[in-house]
Protein backbone atom coordinates (compact mmCIF):
# COMPACT_ATOMS: atom_id res chain seq x y z
CA UNK A 1 0.00 0.00 0.00
CA UNK A 2 2.81 2.46 0.97
CA UNK A 3 4.54 1.58 -2.31
CA UNK A 4 1.46 2.54 -4.40
CA UNK A 5 0.65 5.74 -2.45
CA UNK A 6 4.20 7.03 -2.80
CA UNK A 7 4.22 6.29 -6.54
CA UNK A 8 0.87 8.10 -6.98
CA UNK A 9 2.07 11.17 -5.05
CA UNK A 10 5.19 11.52 -7.17
CA UNK A 11 3.20 11.10 -10.40
CA UNK A 12 0.84 13.88 -9.26
CA UNK A 13 3.79 16.10 -8.37
CA UNK A 14 5.32 15.46 -11.77
CA UNK A 15 2.06 16.20 -13.67
CA UNK A 16 1.52 19.47 -11.80
CA UNK A 17 4.95 20.81 -12.68
CA UNK A 18 4.95 19.51 -16.24
CA UNK A 19 2.36 22.15 -17.10
CA UNK A 20 4.19 25.05 -15.52
CA UNK A 21 6.47 26.02 -18.34
CA UNK A 22 9.22 28.52 -17.69
CA UNK A 23 8.17 31.97 -18.92
CA UNK A 24 11.50 33.71 -18.38
CA UNK A 25 15.04 32.40 -18.69
CA UNK A 26 15.76 33.84 -15.27
CA UNK A 27 13.31 31.47 -13.46
CA UNK A 28 15.16 29.20 -11.06
CA UNK A 29 12.56 26.49 -11.56
CA UNK A 30 12.98 24.61 -14.80
CA UNK A 31 11.60 21.46 -16.30
CA UNK A 32 14.38 18.89 -16.35
CA UNK A 33 14.71 15.72 -18.37
CA UNK A 34 17.57 13.56 -17.22
CA UNK A 35 16.86 9.87 -17.60
CA UNK A 36 19.25 7.30 -16.15
CA UNK A 37 19.24 3.58 -16.70
CA UNK A 38 21.80 1.42 -15.01
CA UNK A 39 22.96 -1.99 -13.97
CA UNK A 40 22.96 -2.29 -10.23
CA UNK A 41 25.46 -4.41 -8.26
CA UNK A 42 24.15 -4.82 -4.71
CA UNK A 43 26.29 -5.70 -1.72
CA UNK A 44 24.19 -6.54 1.33
CA UNK A 45 25.82 -6.61 4.74
CA UNK A 46 24.96 -6.94 8.41
CA UNK A 47 23.06 -9.50 10.46
CA UNK A 48 19.82 -9.46 8.50
CA UNK A 49 17.70 -11.61 6.24
CA UNK A 50 18.86 -10.35 2.84
CA UNK A 51 22.56 -10.41 3.77
CA UNK A 52 22.72 -13.71 5.65
CA UNK A 53 20.08 -15.91 4.01
CA UNK A 54 20.09 -14.71 0.41
CA UNK A 55 22.42 -14.09 -2.49
CA UNK A 56 21.87 -10.91 -4.52
CA UNK A 57 21.96 -11.01 -8.31
CA UNK A 58 22.54 -8.19 -10.77
CA UNK A 59 19.75 -5.63 -10.60
CA UNK A 60 18.44 -2.83 -12.77
CA UNK A 61 17.70 0.78 -11.90
CA UNK A 62 16.01 3.72 -13.57
CA UNK A 63 15.76 7.34 -12.55
CA UNK A 64 13.98 10.31 -14.09
CA UNK A 65 14.94 13.76 -12.90
CA UNK A 66 12.04 16.01 -13.92
CA UNK A 67 12.51 19.33 -12.12
CA UNK A 68 15.48 21.58 -11.64
CA UNK A 69 15.64 24.32 -8.99
CA UNK A 70 18.97 26.12 -9.37
CA UNK A 71 21.38 23.17 -9.37
CA UNK A 72 19.09 20.93 -7.36
CA UNK A 73 17.20 18.25 -9.22
CA UNK A 74 14.06 16.40 -8.11
CA UNK A 75 13.50 12.96 -9.45
CA UNK A 76 11.80 9.61 -9.11
CA UNK A 77 13.33 6.21 -9.56
CA UNK A 78 12.77 2.47 -9.58
CA UNK A 79 15.14 -0.35 -8.63
CA UNK A 80 14.72 -4.09 -9.07
CA UNK A 81 17.07 -6.59 -7.42
CA UNK A 82 16.50 -10.37 -7.57
CA UNK A 83 17.73 -12.58 -4.74
CA UNK A 84 18.10 -16.34 -4.44
CA UNK A 85 17.73 -18.18 -1.15
CA UNK A 86 20.87 -19.63 0.46
CA UNK A 87 19.58 -20.67 3.91
CA UNK A 88 16.31 -22.57 3.85
CA UNK A 89 16.10 -22.69 7.65
CA UNK A 90 15.67 -18.88 7.63
CA UNK A 91 13.91 -18.27 4.31
CA UNK A 92 11.62 -21.28 4.16
CA UNK A 93 11.66 -23.58 1.14
CA UNK A 94 11.27 -20.57 -1.18
CA UNK A 95 13.77 -20.12 -3.99
CA UNK A 96 13.65 -16.40 -4.69
CA UNK A 97 12.91 -12.95 -3.34
CA UNK A 98 12.43 -9.90 -5.56
CA UNK A 99 13.30 -6.49 -4.08
CA UNK A 100 11.46 -3.62 -5.79
CA UNK A 101 11.47 0.00 -4.74
CA UNK A 102 9.99 3.27 -6.00
CA UNK A 103 11.61 6.35 -4.55
CA UNK A 104 11.92 10.09 -4.82
CA UNK A 105 15.27 11.82 -4.63
CA UNK A 106 17.02 15.18 -4.58
CA UNK A 107 20.34 15.50 -6.40
CA UNK A 108 22.80 18.38 -6.69
CA UNK A 109 24.84 18.84 -9.82
CA UNK A 110 28.49 19.82 -9.40
CA UNK A 111 30.27 20.62 -12.64
CA UNK A 112 33.93 19.56 -12.51
CA UNK A 113 34.88 20.03 -16.17
CA UNK A 114 32.90 20.47 -19.40
CA UNK A 115 32.54 16.72 -19.61
CA UNK A 116 32.64 15.64 -15.99
CA UNK A 117 29.91 16.10 -13.35
CA UNK A 118 29.41 14.77 -9.89
CA UNK A 119 25.88 14.46 -8.52
CA UNK A 120 25.44 13.62 -4.86
CA UNK A 121 21.88 12.74 -3.89
CA UNK A 122 19.60 11.43 -1.18
CA UNK A 123 16.13 9.95 -1.35
CA UNK A 124 13.25 8.11 0.33
CA UNK A 125 11.04 5.39 -1.02
CA UNK A 126 8.65 2.51 -0.50
CA UNK A 127 9.64 -1.07 -1.13
CA UNK A 128 8.18 -4.52 -1.63
CA UNK A 129 9.99 -7.83 -1.17
CA UNK A 130 8.11 -10.60 -2.99
CA UNK A 131 8.78 -14.25 -2.18
CA UNK A 132 8.35 -16.81 -4.93
CA UNK A 133 9.41 -20.22 -6.18
CA UNK A 134 9.11 -20.33 -9.97
CA UNK A 135 5.52 -19.13 -10.58
CA UNK A 136 4.33 -19.84 -7.03
CA UNK A 137 3.72 -16.85 -4.75
CA UNK A 138 4.65 -17.04 -1.03
CA UNK A 139 3.56 -13.59 0.06
CA UNK A 140 5.47 -10.33 0.38
CA UNK A 141 6.92 -7.85 2.83
CA UNK A 142 6.57 -4.10 2.46
CA UNK A 143 8.56 -1.28 3.97
CA UNK A 144 10.45 1.94 3.34
CA UNK A 145 14.03 2.91 2.60
CA UNK A 146 16.49 5.77 2.63
CA UNK A 147 19.38 6.22 0.22
CA UNK A 148 22.40 8.49 -0.03
CA UNK A 149 25.11 8.39 -2.65
CA UNK A 150 26.59 10.02 -5.69
CA UNK A 151 27.00 9.53 -9.43
CA UNK A 152 29.87 10.61 -11.63
CA UNK A 153 28.77 11.52 -15.16
CA UNK A 154 31.08 11.64 -18.16
CA UNK A 155 29.71 13.22 -21.31
CA UNK A 156 29.93 10.92 -24.30
CA UNK A 157 27.80 12.93 -26.74
CA UNK A 158 25.64 16.03 -26.75
CA UNK A 159 22.78 14.33 -24.90
CA UNK A 160 24.39 11.17 -23.68
CA UNK A 161 26.60 10.51 -20.68
CA UNK A 162 27.98 7.40 -19.09
CA UNK A 163 28.01 7.23 -15.32
CA UNK A 164 29.18 5.21 -12.37
CA UNK A 165 28.02 5.65 -8.83
CA UNK A 166 27.78 4.28 -5.34
CA UNK A 167 24.87 4.48 -2.97
CA UNK A 168 24.03 3.37 0.57
CA UNK A 169 20.49 1.99 0.90
CA UNK A 170 18.99 1.31 4.33
CA UNK A 171 15.61 -0.45 4.46
CA UNK A 172 13.02 -1.15 7.14
CA UNK A 173 10.53 -3.95 6.48
CA UNK A 174 7.29 -4.75 8.28
CA UNK A 175 7.51 -8.02 10.21
CA UNK A 176 5.73 -9.92 12.98
CA UNK A 177 7.76 -12.75 14.44
CA UNK A 178 9.39 -14.13 17.58
CA UNK A 179 11.26 -11.27 19.34
CA UNK A 180 14.78 -12.65 18.79
CA UNK A 181 14.20 -12.56 15.00
CA UNK A 182 12.50 -9.18 14.64
CA UNK A 183 15.70 -7.25 13.92
CA UNK A 184 16.86 -9.94 11.46
CA UNK A 185 13.75 -9.61 9.28
CA UNK A 186 13.12 -5.90 9.89
CA UNK A 187 16.39 -4.43 8.69
CA UNK A 188 18.32 -4.49 5.42
CA UNK A 189 21.49 -2.60 4.54
CA UNK A 190 23.32 -2.52 1.27
CA UNK A 191 25.77 -0.64 -0.87
CA UNK A 192 24.80 -0.36 -4.50
CA UNK A 193 27.34 0.07 -7.27
CA UNK A 194 25.72 1.58 -10.34
CA UNK A 195 26.95 1.75 -13.90
CA UNK A 196 24.85 3.03 -16.75
CA UNK A 197 23.83 5.70 -19.21
CA UNK A 198 22.20 9.09 -18.80
CA UNK A 199 20.11 10.70 -21.51
CA UNK A 200 19.71 14.44 -21.01
Amino acid sequence: MKFKVLFFLFCSFFLQFSYSQETENKSPVKFNHDFRINALIPSNYGDNFLAKANDAKLGIGMNFSFLRIYDFKLGIGYDYIPYSSTDISMTGNIKNADYQTVYGDVAYEIKITDKLNIEPYFGFGGLELKFRSDARDFGNQTGSNFRIGFNTDYKLAKRLSGFIGICYLGSKLDISTSPEFVSFYHNAKMFQFNIGLKIH
Binding site: I88, S89, M90, T91, G92, N93, I94, L129, K130, F131, R136, F138, G139, N140, Q141, T142, L173, D174, I175, S176, T177, S178, P179, F181, Y185
Partner: protein, 220 residues
Protein backbone atom coordinates in the same frame (compact mmCIF):
# COMPACT_ATOMS: atom_id res chain seq x y z
CA UNK B 1 -15.31 -21.12 -26.03
CA UNK B 2 -15.73 -24.31 -23.98
CA UNK B 3 -11.96 -24.85 -23.95
CA UNK B 4 -11.41 -21.31 -22.69
CA UNK B 5 -13.98 -21.79 -19.91
CA UNK B 6 -12.39 -25.11 -18.96
CA UNK B 7 -8.95 -23.50 -18.84
CA UNK B 8 -10.21 -20.63 -16.65
CA UNK B 9 -11.97 -23.11 -14.34
CA UNK B 10 -8.79 -25.23 -14.03
CA UNK B 11 -6.67 -22.16 -13.23
CA UNK B 12 -9.17 -20.97 -10.60
CA UNK B 13 -9.30 -24.45 -9.07
CA UNK B 14 -5.52 -24.76 -8.90
CA UNK B 15 -5.26 -21.27 -7.34
CA UNK B 16 -7.83 -22.10 -4.70
CA UNK B 17 -5.95 -25.32 -3.81
CA UNK B 18 -2.72 -23.45 -3.08
CA UNK B 19 -2.00 -22.46 0.50
CA UNK B 20 -1.63 -18.67 0.89
CA UNK B 21 1.18 -17.25 3.02
CA UNK B 22 1.73 -14.00 4.88
CA UNK B 23 5.23 -12.77 4.00
CA UNK B 24 5.15 -10.27 6.88
CA UNK B 25 4.61 -12.94 9.53
CA UNK B 26 7.33 -15.50 10.27
CA UNK B 27 6.76 -18.41 12.62
CA UNK B 28 9.44 -20.51 14.31
CA UNK B 29 9.71 -24.21 15.13
CA UNK B 30 12.63 -25.12 17.36
CA UNK B 31 13.80 -27.95 19.56
CA UNK B 32 16.59 -30.35 20.37
CA UNK B 33 16.89 -34.05 19.53
CA UNK B 34 18.40 -36.34 22.13
CA UNK B 35 18.64 -40.09 22.64
CA UNK B 36 17.46 -41.97 25.75
CA UNK B 37 20.81 -41.26 27.43
CA UNK B 38 20.48 -37.48 26.88
CA UNK B 39 23.12 -37.44 24.15
CA UNK B 40 22.43 -34.91 21.36
CA UNK B 41 21.54 -36.32 17.96
CA UNK B 42 23.29 -34.35 15.24
CA UNK B 43 22.65 -34.29 11.48
CA UNK B 44 19.09 -35.62 11.72
CA UNK B 45 16.51 -34.41 9.21
CA UNK B 46 13.65 -32.13 10.26
CA UNK B 47 10.95 -31.19 7.76
CA UNK B 48 7.97 -28.85 8.08
CA UNK B 49 4.93 -29.49 5.90
CA UNK B 50 1.83 -27.34 5.73
CA UNK B 51 -1.41 -28.91 4.59
CA UNK B 52 -5.10 -28.30 4.42
CA UNK B 53 -7.71 -30.71 5.70
CA UNK B 54 -10.01 -29.84 2.78
CA UNK B 55 -10.75 -32.48 0.15
CA UNK B 56 -8.93 -30.46 -2.53
CA UNK B 57 -6.51 -28.76 -0.17
CA UNK B 58 -2.86 -28.35 -1.08
CA UNK B 59 0.31 -29.05 0.85
CA UNK B 60 3.80 -27.54 0.86
CA UNK B 61 7.18 -28.63 2.10
CA UNK B 62 7.67 -25.18 3.61
CA UNK B 63 10.98 -25.74 5.39
CA UNK B 64 13.64 -28.34 6.20
CA UNK B 65 17.03 -28.58 7.87
CA UNK B 66 19.35 -30.95 9.70
CA UNK B 67 20.06 -30.74 13.41
CA UNK B 68 23.37 -29.15 14.38
CA UNK B 69 26.19 -30.68 16.44
CA UNK B 70 24.15 -30.19 19.63
CA UNK B 71 21.03 -31.75 18.13
CA UNK B 72 19.32 -28.37 17.93
CA UNK B 73 17.13 -27.10 15.12
CA UNK B 74 15.46 -23.76 14.40
CA UNK B 75 13.29 -23.29 11.34
CA UNK B 76 11.73 -19.94 10.43
CA UNK B 77 9.20 -19.67 7.60
CA UNK B 78 6.24 -17.56 6.42
CA UNK B 79 3.03 -18.26 8.29
CA UNK B 80 0.01 -19.62 6.40
CA UNK B 81 -2.70 -16.97 6.21
CA UNK B 82 -5.47 -19.35 7.27
CA UNK B 83 -5.80 -20.44 10.91
CA UNK B 84 -7.00 -23.87 9.71
CA UNK B 85 -3.80 -24.92 7.91
CA UNK B 86 -1.93 -27.70 9.70
CA UNK B 87 1.79 -27.32 10.35
CA UNK B 88 3.41 -30.74 10.62
CA UNK B 89 6.93 -31.27 11.92
CA UNK B 90 8.46 -34.56 10.81
CA UNK B 91 11.56 -35.75 12.63
CA UNK B 92 13.95 -38.31 11.18
CA UNK B 93 11.37 -39.64 8.74
CA UNK B 94 12.42 -42.24 6.13
CA UNK B 95 16.06 -42.09 7.20
CA UNK B 96 16.86 -45.78 7.94
CA UNK B 97 19.43 -44.90 10.58
CA UNK B 98 18.16 -47.21 13.32
CA UNK B 99 16.29 -44.43 15.09
CA UNK B 100 12.54 -43.94 15.22
CA UNK B 101 10.72 -41.11 13.51
CA UNK B 102 8.27 -38.67 15.05
CA UNK B 103 5.51 -36.46 13.70
CA UNK B 104 4.10 -33.48 15.57
CA UNK B 105 0.94 -31.83 14.27
CA UNK B 106 0.08 -28.23 15.13
CA UNK B 107 -1.99 -25.20 14.11
CA UNK B 108 -1.01 -21.53 14.38
CA UNK B 109 -2.92 -21.34 17.66
CA UNK B 110 -0.37 -23.76 19.18
CA UNK B 111 2.43 -21.23 18.57
CA UNK B 112 3.24 -19.01 21.52
CA UNK B 113 4.40 -15.54 20.40
CA UNK B 114 5.05 -16.94 16.89
CA UNK B 115 7.12 -19.86 18.23
CA UNK B 116 6.52 -23.60 18.71
CA UNK B 117 9.19 -24.77 21.12
CA UNK B 118 9.32 -28.56 21.07
CA UNK B 119 12.04 -28.49 23.72
CA UNK B 120 13.84 -31.83 24.02
CA UNK B 121 12.55 -34.60 21.76
CA UNK B 122 13.75 -38.09 22.60
CA UNK B 123 14.32 -40.53 19.75
CA UNK B 124 14.62 -44.20 20.65
CA UNK B 125 16.33 -46.86 18.63
CA UNK B 126 13.77 -48.89 16.69
CA UNK B 127 15.13 -52.13 18.14
CA UNK B 128 14.17 -50.87 21.63
CA UNK B 129 10.52 -50.32 20.76
CA UNK B 130 7.82 -52.88 21.45
CA UNK B 131 4.02 -52.94 21.36
CA UNK B 132 1.57 -53.13 24.21
CA UNK B 133 -1.99 -54.06 23.26
CA UNK B 134 -4.81 -53.69 25.77
CA UNK B 135 -7.44 -56.31 24.98
CA UNK B 136 -10.90 -55.38 26.27
CA UNK B 137 -12.79 -58.58 27.16
CA UNK B 138 -16.38 -57.48 27.81
CA UNK B 139 -18.37 -60.19 29.64
CA UNK B 140 -21.04 -57.93 31.20
CA UNK B 141 -23.68 -55.77 29.60
CA UNK B 142 -23.76 -52.96 32.18
CA UNK B 143 -20.13 -51.93 32.31
CA UNK B 144 -17.94 -49.70 30.20
CA UNK B 145 -14.22 -48.90 30.16
CA UNK B 146 -13.16 -45.26 29.64
CA UNK B 147 -9.95 -43.24 29.83
CA UNK B 148 -7.23 -45.84 29.36
CA UNK B 149 -3.90 -44.30 30.29
CA UNK B 150 -0.37 -45.68 30.71
CA UNK B 151 2.64 -44.31 32.54
CA UNK B 152 6.07 -45.29 31.25
CA UNK B 153 8.48 -44.71 28.40
CA UNK B 154 6.67 -44.49 25.07
CA UNK B 155 7.97 -44.02 21.56
CA UNK B 156 5.30 -41.39 20.80
CA UNK B 157 5.39 -41.65 17.02
CA UNK B 158 2.58 -39.15 16.57
CA UNK B 159 1.67 -36.15 18.71
CA UNK B 160 -1.36 -34.05 17.85
CA UNK B 161 -1.27 -30.66 19.52
CA UNK B 162 -4.42 -29.51 17.76
CA UNK B 163 -7.03 -31.53 19.65
CA UNK B 164 -8.13 -31.04 23.23
CA UNK B 165 -7.91 -34.14 25.45
CA UNK B 166 -11.64 -34.20 26.14
CA UNK B 167 -12.33 -34.13 22.39
CA UNK B 168 -10.75 -37.52 21.97
CA UNK B 169 -13.72 -39.91 22.13
CA UNK B 170 -11.82 -42.97 20.93
CA UNK B 171 -10.09 -45.30 23.37
CA UNK B 172 -6.44 -45.95 22.64
CA UNK B 173 -5.63 -49.63 23.19
CA UNK B 174 -2.34 -49.95 21.29
CA UNK B 175 0.81 -48.28 22.63
CA UNK B 176 4.35 -48.17 21.30
CA UNK B 177 6.44 -48.64 24.43
CA UNK B 178 10.11 -49.06 25.21
CA UNK B 179 11.30 -52.58 26.05
CA UNK B 180 12.46 -53.75 29.48
CA UNK B 181 10.41 -51.53 31.74
CA UNK B 182 7.38 -51.62 34.01
CA UNK B 183 4.24 -49.87 32.76
CA UNK B 184 1.54 -48.56 35.10
CA UNK B 185 -1.89 -48.96 33.51
CA UNK B 186 -4.89 -47.00 34.77
CA UNK B 187 -8.44 -46.92 33.43
CA UNK B 188 -11.92 -45.95 34.51
CA UNK B 189 -14.64 -48.58 34.91
CA UNK B 190 -18.21 -47.29 34.72
CA UNK B 191 -20.92 -49.56 36.16
CA UNK B 192 -24.51 -48.90 34.99
CA UNK B 193 -26.02 -51.91 36.88
CA UNK B 194 -27.94 -49.61 39.29
CA UNK B 195 -30.16 -47.48 37.05
CA UNK B 196 -30.36 -44.78 39.69
CA UNK B 197 -26.72 -44.49 40.56
CA UNK B 198 -23.81 -44.97 38.14
CA UNK B 199 -20.66 -46.20 39.86
CA UNK B 200 -17.30 -45.02 38.50
CA UNK B 201 -14.09 -46.59 39.78
CA UNK B 202 -10.46 -46.01 38.85
CA UNK B 203 -8.60 -49.24 38.20
CA UNK B 204 -4.86 -49.83 38.06
CA UNK B 205 -2.55 -52.58 36.86
CA UNK B 206 1.18 -53.12 36.51
CA UNK B 207 2.48 -54.59 33.26
CA UNK B 208 5.98 -55.92 32.65
CA UNK B 209 7.37 -55.15 29.20
CA UNK B 210 10.21 -57.42 28.16
CA UNK B 211 11.64 -57.88 24.70
CA UNK B 212 8.50 -59.11 22.99
CA UNK B 213 5.14 -57.50 22.21
CA UNK B 214 2.73 -57.72 25.15
CA UNK B 215 -1.02 -58.24 25.23
CA UNK B 216 -2.77 -57.29 28.46
CA UNK B 217 -6.41 -58.34 28.85
CA UNK B 218 -8.97 -56.41 30.89
CA UNK B 219 -12.04 -58.51 31.62
CA UNK B 220 -15.09 -56.56 32.74
Amino acid sequence: MKKILLLIFTLLLSYSCEIQYDGETRIVVQGQLIDRNNNPLSDKKITITTYSDDTYGGSDLISYANTDAEGRFTLVFPAPKSEEIFIQTSINEHQNNGLQSKIINALKKNFNNYKLDLKQVVLYETKDISQLDILLNKVSTNKQITNIHIEGLQAGYFTDLTTEINQNQLLTTRFDVIKNQTINLSYTLVDYTDPIKTVTTNQKAVIEINSENVIHTITY
